[in-house]
């Protein structure tokens, strides 16, 4: 943590960056995102187990961009999000400094995409055994049971779009949910609209989601949305060998194809 604060002070003092996006004290025992703009505020920064939010979400916000070059405290999913955003032309190299935090809590300054790529190459992007087991459990249900499970979940959805707001890859200025000519997604939070919304969101995040889990954490009614994204991430990897956020010049599996792609359902 001291290391991080020191680096933050350094970066701000030297003027290398104008703002540090990191975690700071929130209400109670919680932490929240803070935007440190002065070296003397660097001591606000916290880095511990509570700091899970994917701060890459702020990088595409015009208000944040207006502050100038940013450094962001970045755990692995945040680093992946940065590369994925780069692959989607939302960030350019050198625009952001990542203060990479390894799972052991060690900090590394990564100012180029290449450095982030190399840093990430040292870590596996496999789901944890626990995550795999959860998916497996769902996979082993009958379709009816799965339908039941998800319907119960989606019934709770109030369409607050917290999932969208927390997602670093939901940076579209005008989300499809707001398109009304035609109105693809019924606006009200009834069953069909909810199902549509979550299917569409999952499809849009296929091979883009970096598995930070912020959607589920943000959901006020506790829908395990990350499962949908994890499922598709696993499918994309299994079928096309692609993982999101590995390279700044990443290819997107769904705008690509191979003659050897194999399915078993097209007659």
């Amino acid at each position: 943590m001291e290391e991080l604060r020191k680096k933050a002070r350094e970066l701000l003092t030297s003027g290398a960056v104008k703002v540090i996006i990191g975690y700071g004290p929130g209400s109670g025992k919680r932490v929240r995102a803070v935007f440190v703009r002065k070296p003397e505020q660097a001591d606000l920064l916290i880095c511990d187990d509570r700091c899970l939010q994917n701060l890459a979400v702020y990088l595409t916000k015009p208000e944040v961009k207006a502050l100038g070059k940013a450094a962001v405290v970045a755990r692995l999913p945040t680093l992946r999000a940065i590369l994925q955003l780069a692959a989607e032309n939302q960030l350019t190299d050198g625009q952001v400094v990542a203060l990479g935090i390894s799972p052991e809590g060690k900090m590394t300054e990564l100012s180029q995409f290449k450095a982030i790529e190399e840093f990430l190459a040292g870590f596996s992007f496999e789901l944890s055994a626990e995550e795999k087991a959860t998916l497996e459990k769902l996979d082993q249900m009958t379709p009816e049971q799965r339908w039941q499970f998800w319907q119960e979940q989606f019934a709770k959805c109030v369409r607050c779009y917290g999932c969208r707001a927390s997602c670093p890859l939901c940076y579209c200025e005008k989300c499809l949910a707001e398109c009304n000519q035609p109105q693809w997604i019924p606006a009200a939070s009834h069953q069909i609209g909810n199902l549509d919304w979550h299917i569409i969101r999952a499809m849009h995040l296929a091979n883009r989601c970096v598995n930070c889990g912020d959607c589920s954490r943000a959901c006020p009614v506790g829908i395990p949305l990350h499962l949908l994204n994890q499922k598709l991430a696993e499918e994309v990897f299994k079928q096309f060998g692609a993982r999101s956020g590995m390279k700044a010049a990443q290819e997107y599996a769904l705008c690509n194809w191979k003659l050897e792609d194999r399915e078993n359902f097209i007659k």
Binding site: E88, N89, Q90, C172, E173, K174, P182, W184, H204, Y252
Partner: protein, 663 residues
Amino acid sequence: MARIGVFICHCGENIAGTVDVFKVAEAAGKFPGVVHSVEYKYMCSDPGQTMIKDAIKEKKLTGVVVAACSPRMHEPTFRRACAEAGLNPFLCEMANIREHCSWVHEKGEATTQKAIELIRIMVEKVKRNKPLYSIKVPVTKTALVLGGGIAGIQAALDIANAGHQVILVERSPSIGGHMLQLSETFPTLDCSQCILTPRMVEVAQHPKITLYTYSELESLDGFIGNFKARIRRKARGVDEKLCTGCGVCIQKCPQKKIPSEFDAGMGKRTAIYVPCPQSVPNQPVIDREHCTYYIKGKCKICEKFCERKAIRLDQQDEIIEVNVGAVVAATGFDILHSKDFPEYGYGKYPDVIDGLQFERLASASGPTLGAIKRPSDGKEPETVVFIACAGSRDDAKGIPYCSKICCMYTAKHAMLYKHKVHNGKAYVFYMDIRAGGKNYEEFVRRAIEEDGAVYLRGRVSRIYEEDGKLIVKGVDTLLGAQPVEIKADMVVLATAIVANQDAESLAQKLRVSYDPYHFLSEAHPKLRPVETNTAGIFLAGACQAPKDIPEAVAQASGAAAKVAGLFSSSELSREPVIAVVNRLPPPVFSTCTGCFLCEKACPYQAIEREEIKDRKGNVIKVVAKVNPGLCQGCGTCVALCRVKAIDLQGFTNEQVYCELMAL
């Protein structure tokens, strides 16, 4: 408010026999927005079309649905009729109640009901149709032909003779290509150079053809009718305007032992050289890799002896830019090289040679003046083994395809050898004899029956040297796969035809697709064999697939006809069924987020990046833009776009959505 007219065709009994057209007309009349609904015996007939035209005028229709046959049949007819009545043709849609309804279902209520629904779907669609206008693109009436082999020469001459400017770019110092290397051609055995050189001269003298030899395409931008090509003119070291082609420099050049590319290594050349005496242009180039001056910094003998003072040792490569409206790729082929045949000792034994090398041996203008002499000791070989399918149809060597011309040229080689060495023995190992073509089979039979070439069906497993002979270990499968050993003096491998080494990078420059073997791909294997999937770029010759001379020439003329067609008017007009990225007033400018995932997906590279700038010129955002010249309207980008910022005219999201809502 929409005012839609519905016109239901009986098609004689074809529709009316199964569908209750009267009931359909009545039902359609009640759809919201429909102000006119009629049926008629033959809508496509003159009176039928007149009905539509009259209704458009009288009822002030804003959209027309013709319920009849397949739009693939009569959509152009009815759209034309609408246009004649002053309605934008893209406000007319067809409901297919014949092929998709009356012909495939039994007479009855369900079928009639289906016809009604099909019309309802189209009515809902047409209500959202917008007038569209054909896209006009200006055309630069100059063609760029890449490659000066027989295909490129033919294409260039045909286009030029149709009255258009041509720029012909050839990589090597002379045009002529591989055909110029050949001795005689099958199945007529006429001399290759005798028929080719007049064409080469014609190219050089044609007022409409600009010839750039020793030049290569650097890059190509733009789209059909409006390409910009950058061409690298490699430093020749000789001023073409001054050089008379007297050849003194070549005689005096001290570097005389460089293997000649033109002679496929069978002969030698100097460092300043022309590939062969018939070269066009006949001005030499300096091969800097081998020239003493460039290696050691002194020599300049050529400069000293050149009376015209045409030698330019300090010349640099030059890049020129040209505007062209169409491109013909005629970059030809290569053959498989030595490293691929360890079992045949090709590259190890000098007397194991390839087909092109044999051509040079057999050519009257070749290094042996047409005498068949083996490379190792210059002796006349008494026994020659020819091996067809050397590398072709060989998955293990990565070439599963048939090289197409080897059967014929191997028969020719065996024949030429027998004509020149009467007592010689010619053995041909073959797999199948593929001699489809005018007079081709007869030609092969002649090699066997009249010239006595011995054909053995089977592959050769191995070649090795023993006692000065090449031991060819093969098999004859017609003898029950009996191993056969032939002691040969020379072996000629009909090595596979492969794409040029840089074919892939050329394809990427041209943005045309290519197959796994790097041959350039035609737009459709049967119906569009000379076009590529990039509009305005055409193919000729063996860069597309292995071909013989007549085929290459035919394709070149076909490509030339396509180019001449394209150049027949100064503007080209295209269907407006293309994708468009929305543009909105500031501060949004476009709902496009600039993720450019569509860019990769587009099969036509039609997605471009547009920078939106403020008044000071600062970039506010970068959004996608569709190049209307390149977009073919498949709509893959539309399905991919998360925010639906991109849409396909004629099949917009709204149109399709409303079709579904009408179900």
